[in-house]
Amino acid sequence: MELLIFYPIAGLCVALAFGVIFNTSPVGSAMCLIGMMLGLAGIFVLLQAHFIAILQIIIYAGAIMVLFMFVIMLLNLKESASADWVSRDKNLLISILTGALAVGILYKIIDITFSADLNSPATLPDTFGTVAVVGESLFTDFVLPFEVASLLLLAAMIGAVVLAKPKLD
């Protein structure tokens, strides 16, 4: 039954990811990316990581994609009509080589993954992935990275304001 849910969501995610990179208009790419992130939230629910699934929807599909849409609207991007693909023709050899490299990496990863002995799943307790369990881990073992993350977000906020300011006096 879980497989019956997994395959449509996984197929949808892969199709939408292709939609992101093959779309000529940036707004279409952003819409595909929002759909992909919602699909990944479904994958996380299937993995019983409910807290991360909600965070995925709130942070990625909500905050980050709204920021993307703001910038696309702000820059007033025209449809590029696949012009940015044509300009890569001069690097045809490099494109082919990197494409072959990507396919090789994918083949090797999947080959190693499927030949590994990974067939003894742990039995999960009912509390797996709840806010209580993740939060307890976050505030005991990982309290220092948590504080550093707040510092990182503060630095990013100040940096974004400084960078986007028209002119520093």
Partner: protein, 104 residues
Amino acid sequence: MFEGTVPLEHYLALSAVLFVIGIVGVLVRRNVIVVFMSIEIMLNAVNISLIAFDNYLNLSNGQIFSFMVMCVAAAEVSVGLAIIIALHRNKPTVNLDEFNLLKW
């Protein structure tokens, strides 16, 4: 055929496929916004792996890691988009090939 739980390999394969799609997006597209979105695809692909192993090993470390990945992604997006706006102000284009200020 469709009985039982999803094996770990399937999640890892999905993660690898999405990661490679992200790499292809970064390599072939020249629109700076789309390249940025491809980076987001790669970050999300890694999150799948982390949480799949978490589920497999009954830990919560992977979920904390993916939480941190989301924090870094949020910071990266805000700073990156600010850089794109600043660049766009100097040179009204979004084609990465035309940004050659730092080229020697």
